[in-house]
Amino acid sequence: MKKFGGIATFIDRDDINTDEIIPAKYLTEITKQALKPHLLEDLRLEDGSFDPRSEEIKKASVLVTRSNFGCGSSREHAVWALEVNNITVVIASSFARIFRQNMFNCGILAVELSDAELDRLFGLAPEVQINVDLEREELIATDARDSKIECSFSLNPFDRELVAAGGWLAYADQKY
């Protein structure tokens, strides 16, 4: 099975919407790869702590953020923009429904943690490695000084099956 995890990038804001993840002007693209340079292009945090063009985000495979990630439009382009940038896991306290479903449908992990656990993860930033054990539903975050935080999470069993099957299209094509 695909490996989930790697270097993490942190975005300290609630309600990051799909227009911020991938602006509507790129919806005319008909290949996923064309979305690659535009991930989070229009996102600005008030404190200036996020730069969509930074090296940090280019290296990341895990995105850690706050609540209601992916709200707004149904565009799966937003999930693909993550996918083509090698993001395999998003960790948040909650997700918008369509976005969360799109993630599992594409075989990408949406992990929900409590606000308190997220605070602990944010406390480790920057330079954090997060590895996910899908079987045990656990993740381990390690910072530059080798301090570790372990968190367990729970996935809806069906969503887990989708991730294991390689997405909903493959699953449904076999079953229905």
Binding site: E20, K25, T28, S67, S73, S74, E76, R97, N105, F158
Partner: protein
């Protein structure tokens, strides 16, 4: 134990239940537009799966950027057009016959009480106004919908929103839903179905119910839904008269979908609209809502009346009542986009288009256009738009632009004065 309308619809369409919490439903209508469908078509073709489960249950429209603005949007349209022809999809709507999906498809009678409806568009929740379960989905779900006619959802959990009181003049469904989203916040209804009930909803026309349900996703909801009743039956009558002996008979049949009195809800919210003022958003999230009086005087550069939220004939009439005999401020660009050709034509017949044009508005063909900042009225950096659409996200109508969401009468009032204005000051005179 009683059931909610959503539970009844889910039970009637259940095809599989991979876990007790996950339900795979048979889908009655799969709707498609040219932003999210071509990429699904191309992917299915690449995978050697270019099939459709049932061409009669697929409805397709080119609406987001139409006529095409450039080669890329022309290509998207072409992929859709070729696909519809290839698979014999009869209900495909192209230029001249096309309109904003969530206004066009109800008008064609495609949505019925008790139906399951999906589309690769978050505002698919609009169709819940007919007592259907209608939800926005992504492209993978759309591909499976097109291929197999099924879609997976979590077990439905509902929230009951009871709306009572007497609406003041100048207050409309748009103000009610903005007020509700403010109460709930942008994720207050995540994974829930917002069921709108109570005397205010019962006396609302279908256009207002669609406006309400349209914005349920802005509170995170899976969908909005209203009980199908006489108003629903009357709207659908031209399409169902072969099936029912009378409107009475249709109303009676529709009742089988309505929530039971002892149905169980996750949450309830009571709204009294008696003292509700016109509402407006003030920042980049749809729950950032204030009474319009608090925002009065904010200058606007553009006024946009249209979209699946408020581009229907009722909305155009309401705005025209304010524009009649007046001209819009010199500092303002006014844009009207009737949501469908039938609405446009009706507005012409009623002399409404002339009122808009005489006031200084530009009248465009039916399209989503400026609503998502892709064409037909994109804002420049720093510009402000008073808009009847549903989303005020940063950059939504153009990078660096600010969108204030409001009702059609409030937007018309802003056009006349050039600033956010309480529309009641026009209506009282």
């Amino acid at each position: 134990m009683g059931q909610t309308i959503a539970e009844k619809i889910f039970a009637a369409h259940l095809r599989d239940s991979p876990t007790p919490d996950n339900m795979v439903l048979g889908i009655d209508v799969v709707m498609c537009h040219e932003i999210t469908t071509p990429i699904a078509i191309v992917d299915l073709m690449d995978k050697g799966m270019d099939r459709v489960f049932n061409p009669d249950r697929i409805k397709a429209v080119i609406d987001h950027v139409t006529p095409p603005k450039d080669s890329k949007t022309a290509t998207q349209a072409k992929i859709m057009r070729d696909w519809a022809r290839r698979h014999g999809i009869k209900d495909f709507f192209d230029i001249g016959r096309n309109g904003v999906c969530h206004a066009l498809f109800p008008e064609k009678g495609f949505i019925r009480p008790g139906y399951t409806v999906i589309m690769g568009d978050s505002h698919t929740c609009t169709h819940g106004a007919f007592g259907a379960f209608a939800a926005g989905i992504g492209t993978t779900d759309l591909e499976v919908g097109i291929l197999k006619g099924v879609c997976a959802f979590r077990k439905p959990r509902s929230m009951k929103i009871e709306v009572v009181g007497e609406m003041q003049k100048g207050v409309s469904a748009k103000d009610i839903i903005l007020h509700i989203i403010k109460q709930l916040t942008v994720n207050g209804a995540t994974d829930l179905i917002m069921e709108f009930t109570g005397p205010v909803i019962a006396s609302m026309d279908m256009a207002s119910r669609m406006t309400l349900c349209n914005m349920s996703v802005e509170a995170g909801a899976t969908s909005g839904i209203c009980m199908p009743d006489r108003v629903t039956a009357q709207y659908l009558w031209p399409f169902i008269q072969q099936e029912y002996a009378s409107i009475e008979a249709a109303v009676e049949d529709f009742a089988k979908w309505c929530s039971d009195d002892d149905a169980v809800y996750e949450k309830t919210l009571d709204i009294d609209v008696t003292t509700l003022s016109p509402q407006v958003t003030y920042d980049y999230k749809p729950d950032q809502v204030k009474d319009i009086t608090e925002m009065a005087g904010t200058p606007v550069d553009q006024v946009y009346i249209g979209s699946c939220t408020n581009g229907r004939i009722e909305d155009i009439r309401a705005a025209a009542a304010i524009l009649k005999g007046r001209t819009i401020a010199d500092s303002v660009r006014g844009i009207l986009t009737p949501a469908t050709p039938a609405i446009y034509s009706q507005a012409l017949d009623e002399g409404l288009i002339k009122i808009f044009m005489d006031s200084g508005f530009c009248v465009l063909n039916p399209t989503c256009g400026a609503c998502l900042g892709m064409s037909s009225g994109v804002l420049a950096e720093g510009e402000v738009c008073a808009s009847t659409t549903n989303r005020n996200f940063n950059g939504r109508m153009g990078k660096g632009g600010m969108v204030h969401l409001m009702s059609p009468v409030s937007a018309a009032a802003a056009a006349v004065t050039g600033e956010i204005t309480d529309p009641r000051s026009f209506l009282d005179k």
